[in-house]
């Protein structure tokens, strides 16, 4: 009975646009859904370092090298903010990392695709970060305070990510034939997976309604995807690249760019582990974890020794 009243008050607070803070009462379901969502978001940032990290040592100028390095580093920072936001809900980062490394937790599918040429760095910054910004701008307004604040910080930092990518796209699209071929090829490969980043259609997204009721999400997957397509069509024109969708057309009544059907079989196949790089990504993260174990332990051991020394001399 008490819970029913608490739930009513909780939902009323959300309705009024108040933020829920870590120590506030919340339904168990809200807590578990948030932990799932925030940790998946965090894992995605961390795995997301790998495809772009693949080109850090091969960036074509010192300026590009520093931008890319700073961007990939930001992703580590974003993963870190997000893990901390999840930790406010009563889980440990070690548990979340453990679930990810043991393959139980999911991360964004997009990072299971390979970066084949330097043009992929442009396409990722423009399309993948572009899609992520649309999503994170919404999440910055979500009902859970720590998650909202983490996304706000992420959005602030991420604006340069998209611009650096888009600059690469534009430069290459105006470059030599070989460069133009590379950039168009990269856009062709990243376009559809970018659209998949918003998740299944609303009718096939079981968690969506609940998340929207509690204002964890404020817009549906399909609404966000449409917003992204509308923004990107203009940018593609300005850059001088084409989007690989023969069905893409403007609908003056809705003011939307309508697009073709997404290949959901491919999406689910990659989710199940069959993407080109799923195994490489997990292997890289596990290796970093296993090879870093002695470093983490050493720092803990040193700290314990210092505390013991301080206690003894006190």
């Amino acid at each position: 009975m008490e819970d029913a009243n608490k739930l009513k008050e909780f939902e009323a607070r959300i309705e009024r646009g108040e933020k829920i803070e870590p120590k506030d009462w919340m339904p168990e379901r809200y807590r578990t859904q948030l932990i799932r969502m925030i940790s998946q978001h965090a894992h995605s940032e961390i795995v997301g370092m790998l495809p772009e990290g693949n080109w850090i040592t091969r960036a074509p100028s010192l300026r590009r090298k520093m931008s890319l390095l700073a961007k990939v580093q930001d992703e580590a920072g974003h993963g870190l903010y997000l893990y901390c936001a999840a930790e406010t809900l009563g889980v440990d980062r070690s548990e979340l990392v453990g679930e990810f490394l043991s393959g139980k937790a999911k991360y964004s599918n997009i990072f299971n695709y390979p970066t084949l040429t330097w043009a992929d760095i442009g396409a990722i910054g423009w399309l993948v970060d572009g899609a992520a910004i649309v999503n994170q701008t919404m999440l910055a307004k979500c009902s859970y305070g720590p998650y909202s604040r983490a996304n706000l910080r992420i959005c602030k930092e991420e604006t340069f990510h998209k611009v650096q990518g888009y600059e690469i796209v534009c430069t290459m699209a105006q470059g030599r034939p070989a460069q133009r071929k590379m950039i168009q090829d990269a856009v062709n490969r990243w376009w559809w997976p970018s659209l998949m980043m918003f998740g299944p259609h609303d009718k096939n997204s079981p968690n969506s309604a609940e998340l929207m009721k509690w204002k964890v999400k404020l817009f549906s997957n399909d609404d966000l995807r449409q917003r992204f397509v509308n923004l990107t069509v203009r940018q593609a024109r300005a850059a001088g690249v084409t989007l690989p969708d023969p069905d893409l057309k403007y609908n003056p009544e809705t003011d939307n760019w309508e697009f073709g059907e997404i290949n959901w079989d491919e999406f689910w196949s990659v989710v199940r582990g069959n993407g080109p790089c799923n195994r490489d990504r997990m292997r890289a993260r596990r290796r970093a974890h296993v090879e870093g174990a002695w470093v983490r332990e050493a720092a803990d051991a040193y700290a314990a020794k210092q505390r013991a020394k301080a206690a003894k001399s006190a």
Partner: protein, 264 residues
């Protein structure tokens, strides 16, 4: 010699010397920054991943300024990118120390610490260089170097006095990397001439400060300093490198080499 602001005030001999000297400074930082950047996404814990990348970014940034200045001193219209991306290994002037692969985290930290101490004292002295454009770069770099040193020194202490495994690993790393430290202090006629003119740092005094801080830190970290009596590698400043440099360059230079003159 009074303060030299532009290359026209330098004799052509000093100009040639200075060009080579700036390559030494720039290439050390470029190659070490490149090596550190390989940790990005693979560090032992998230926080450290970010820390190593910050250091990498600082070093590459310094390299860019130093190579730009080298190009200006040379006067052949070569940009920092031209110098980084279009030179052969034999024309690089970096130390073998910075060319070595990243190894395990202990190796990365041991090498970094030895370089950071060197870097810090070097930049501290270069703040007083009579070549004002160099002293301006050093004034910024010395602040970064001081932080890098704080970071790597704290890690040497933690790994040395952490667990048995970390102690063993960092001791092994120092033992292995030690033979590359000799050439940090290999003063040649070129550096002597520049020192005479008040343009370069004095490697002899740097060596004294370096040895003191390195030994003090190793003792505090319960580690044993390797003997200086052992064989020391030499010749990097004349272009005699390890095989690793060629592989670093083959990655670093792949795009500008494949598409000469293209913009990215």
């Amino acid at each position: 010699m009074r303060n030299a602001e532009t290359k026209s005030e330098l004799s052509s001999r000093s100009q040639q010397d200075l060009f080579d000297y700036l390559l030494r400074l720039g290439d050390d930082r470029l190659v070490l920054g490149h090596r550190l950047s390989q940790w990005c996404g693979h560090g032992p814990i998230l926080e450290e991943d970010l820390a190593l990348t910050n250091i990498s970014l600082d070093l590459i940034g310094q390299a860019k300024f130093l190579l730009e200045l080298a190009g200006e001193v040379e006067g052949k219209n070569r940009s920092a990118d031209d110098l980084a991306y279009l030179r052969e290994a034999i024309d690089f002037r970096c130390l073998k120390l910075v060319e070595q692969p990243i190894g395990d985290y202990a190796y990365t930290i041991a090498r970094q610490f030895l370089f950071d101490v060197y870097d810090y004292y070097q930049m501290e002295q270069l703040c007083d260089s009579k070549f004002e454009k160099l002293s301006a770069i050093a004034a910024k770099a010395v602040k970064e170097a001081r932080y890098h040193l704080r970071h790597s020194r704290q890690w040497v202490l933690r790994l040395g006095d952490g667990t048995q495994e970390s102690h063993r690993r960092i001791q092994t790393a120092f033992d292995e990397v030690w033979m590359y430290t000799g050439e940090m202090f290999e003063a040649d006629d070129l550096e002597d001439r520049l020192l005479e003119e008040g343009l370069a740092a004095d490697l002899r005094t740097i060596r004294t400060s370096w040895a003191a801080l390195v030994h003090q830190t190793l003792v505090e970290a319960t580690l044993t300093a390797p003997s200086d009596e052992q064989y020391m590698q030499s010749g990097s400043r004349k272009g005699f490198h390890s095989e690793y440099l060629g592989h670093v360059l083959s990655e670093l230079q792949i795009l500008p080499r494949s598409y000469p003159g293209a913009k990215w």
